[in-house]
């Protein structure tokens, strides 16, 4: 069965500083990987996704993530954090169904990001 580990429960950074959120996954096949962001009381917004191809993927709001198969990691990065980035971030792996076109998502427990002005 697939699983996702986000080692950092809570991270605090200063506005303008760089950010890296860690994600490790376990999955037997080539994974579909995602980062979602959730503001308080809200649903999930997709930041970026990896299905195949270039291992460095660009997303919305200036975020990027790098897929490293050898490390089973898919870390999220942003060069300069803005106060509006304060939210909870979830990494997820998609497990495709045999013979079907869709997949189910398995999420990590999330990393809460606080931004100091």
């Amino acid at each position: 069965a697939q699983s996702v580990t986000q080692p950092d429960i809570h991270i605090t950074v200063s506005e303008g500083a760089s950010l890296e959120l860690r994600c490790n996954y376990s999955y037997g096949a080539t994974p579909y990987l995602f980062w979602y962001v959730q503001s308080p009381g809200q649903g999930l917004q997709l930041l970026l996704k990896y299905f195949s191809g270039d291992t460095l993927v660009q997303g919305i709001k200036g975020f990027e993530a790098e897929f490293k198969r050898s490390q089973s990691s898919f870390n999220l990065r942003k060069p300069s954090v803005h106060w509006s980035d304060a939210a909870e971030y979830f990494c997820a792996v998609g497990a495709a169904y045999s013979g079907a076109g869709s997949y189910q998502l398995t999420f990590g427990k999330g990393t809460k990001l606080s931004v100091i002005p």
């Binding site: 997709l46 979830f90 079907a100 869709s102 398995t106 999420f107």
Partner: protein, 113 residues
Amino acid sequence: DAGVTQSPTHLIKTRGQQVTLRCSPKSGHDTVSWYQQALGQGPQFIFQYYEEEERQRGNFPDRFSGHQFPNYSSELNVNALLLGDSALYLCASSSNRGRETQYFGPGTRLLVL
């Protein structure tokens, strides 16, 4: 183009009652997945519906059931509510074409007293 919509936004029930949550998928999507997000946790997959049938199910008891209608909208039903069912219930829609992104609705927050 409306995104994924869910109703109601909030709900309060007592133990033993039954609840029905509703979801309308994004235009052009035919697949609906339901997730439960307990406080302080990541979402957990409940089940997925496609062509009005449950296609895949997570580790949830039979008290959790669903339905998909011909217009692709979906309902999640929970019977015999327990305190532990208190959570944010998220609906996600996608296309069955494969490698398609799941788009999430704002969720329904259920409180069981």
